[in-house]
């Protein structure tokens, strides 16, 4: 039995994996299907029928199962359309920020000394610069697009990855197996990637799931500054943010995308827990 097959076996029998992974797969499928196949148009505006309740509400209608938004667009259609964008933003930014942050943390935590000083410098600069200011400048100078958005958020959200990786790496740098690996002449990249990285997978996965949710909400906040998803595209975070003024009057406007977001976050969390359980070898803390 290879380590891989052991891991896969454990994964298959992990409840969280099925619940989390299954939900995520469902959302993915819905996102890929999209609204058009169901005959819904997420961009069709109808100012005469704005802010309609979902079908179970007092003035709901069958024409719009989940109601309409502030421009009269069908909520269900936008929900399906937004799944794609939200997932893309979440995953893409985690890839970008995770790569940057983990690399910085590994290098800083392992080498210490001047290298750590440099990493500390970069991290502190990133933390000190206000996201708002950076976003405004990007919009003013470069304009806005989905790629720019992912890059900006990815370049702004790596700090938690770096901090957690660094502290975990620092602890591991002194442990037996790392020292032994050095003794047998393993190269530094190999030590970092093959010895240390798998052992810090636990907290790293947790941070990844957190930053995924964070990215989706940050995107919505950035939309108000001009940097987020552009109309007529939708994203769940944006739908939540746009429904703010209706919170006290038509709570379904915010509840529907909010619940969708929560379900996605829960699925990601569960999946992350399962992966962490499977990847983190025992007894090496």
């Amino acid at each position: 039995m290879t380590p891989t097959s052991v891991a896969l076996h454990r994964l298959r029998h992990h409840a969280s994996f099925w619940v989390g992974g299954g939900t995520l797969a469902l959302i993915l499928v819905l996102a890929l299907i999209g609204p058009t196949i169901l005959g819904l148009d997420p961009t069709a505006q109808d100012l005469a029928h704005r802010l309609i309740d979902p079908v179970w509400g007092p003035h709901g209608s069958q024409a719009h199962l989940l109601g309409t938004d502030q421009l009269g667009r069908d909520t269900l259609a936008r929900l399906l359309d937004g799944a794609r964008i939200s997932l893309f933003i979440g995953i893409a930014t985690v890839v970008v920020s995770g790569t940057i942050g983990t690399l910085l943390g590994l290098v800083g935590g392992y080498f210490g000394g001047r290298v750590d000083m440099a990493v500390n410098f970069i991290v502190t600069i990133r933390l000190t610069l206000p996201i708002v200011l950076v976003a405004l400048v990007v919009v003013a100078v470069v304009g806005s697009s989905l790629t720019i958005l992912v890059l900006v958020i990815g370049l702004l959200l790596w700090d938690r990855f770096a901090v957690v990786t660094r502290s975990a790496t620092q602890r591991l740098a002194q442990s037996d197996f790392v020292i032994s690996a050095r003794c047998i002449g393993a190269s530094t990249p190999r030590i970092l990637l093959a010895e240390i990285l798998p052992n810090i997978a636990g907290p790293l996965i947790v941070v990844a799931t957190i930053e995924l949710a964070h990215a989706m909400l940050l995107e919505a906040a950035l939309s108000f500054l001009g940097l987020g998803v552009k109309p007529p595209l939708a994203s769940w975070g944006l739908m939540v943010a746009e429904a703010k003024s209706q919170l006290l009057f038509r709570p379904w406007q915010i509840a529907i995308p909010g619940v969708a977001l929560a379900v996605l976050v829960l699925a990601v969390n569960l999946l992350g827990d399962a992966l962490r359980d499977v990847l983190a070898p025992e007894g090496r803390a």
Partner: protein, 305 residues
Amino acid sequence: MGRFLARRLLVTILVVLVTSIVAFSLVHLSGDPAVAMAGEGASAADVAAIRTLYGFDRPLTVQYVAWVGKVMTGDFGRSYYLRESVMQVLAEHAPITAILGSLALAFALLVSIPLGALAGLKRNGLVDRLASAVAVTGQAAPSFLLALLLIYIFGIRLHWLPISGNDTALHYVLPAVTLGMYATPALLRLTRSGMIEVMQSDPIRTCRAYGLAPWRIVIRHALRSAIIPVVSLAAVQFGLMLGGSIVVEAVFSLKGLGQLAWESIQRSDIEVIQALLLLTALVYAGLTLLADLLNALLDPRMRLS
């Protein structure tokens, strides 16, 4: 230890320098400060007059050097908009954010650590489900949602707590809870995951094999190890909360640094922004230093090289 501190000091100074230059350029790149000062309803002539009057037409390097010169003499300048010295503006806004941030962090830690530890100990139990729900709520709900819900329940419906302003100590309760929830998911889940790993580790298994009571194991050994990544994160999280406090301060109408930063960036109130960044850099430098020191205390294996 001395070398470590010296290194940190050097980094801090470099950070301050670099951020101030970068921020200065960013403020000018984000838009025309004269337009920001003159306001939306200003005609082109109005804007031009403001531009000459406030010296925005000077080259950027000249403006930056002038600012540095003033700071060297301890003069952090004046807020264009609020017409007060920057020192005074900061002195009025800082305590509110400090109080809010501390209360929020305290709330977050009080909730995260016990809940996370218990959840990690008894996986898939009731507490773990509760912890999961708390984490998901904190992650998926934007701050304003939580804030407005709390206002609705405790302010409008129950009339238990005040809604806006910072006149009394009670005014800080809802904002601290909201901001604390912003920081809780990360701390909670890291504590939980750290706990799970540690409980499966050799040293702890050895303890159990020796018959040590579970609670002693948890508190003496497991928690200590589990918390280490949380400590570093908590320190940074405190700083991150200061950024997240923008929304909380806006919704609860607290005149703190978050609000000040947001408004100053909108208005291109450069000297305030620069001073705020200086303060932020110092705070972060202090926090990361604190985190490293705490970690060294908790885990002797971590050297301060």
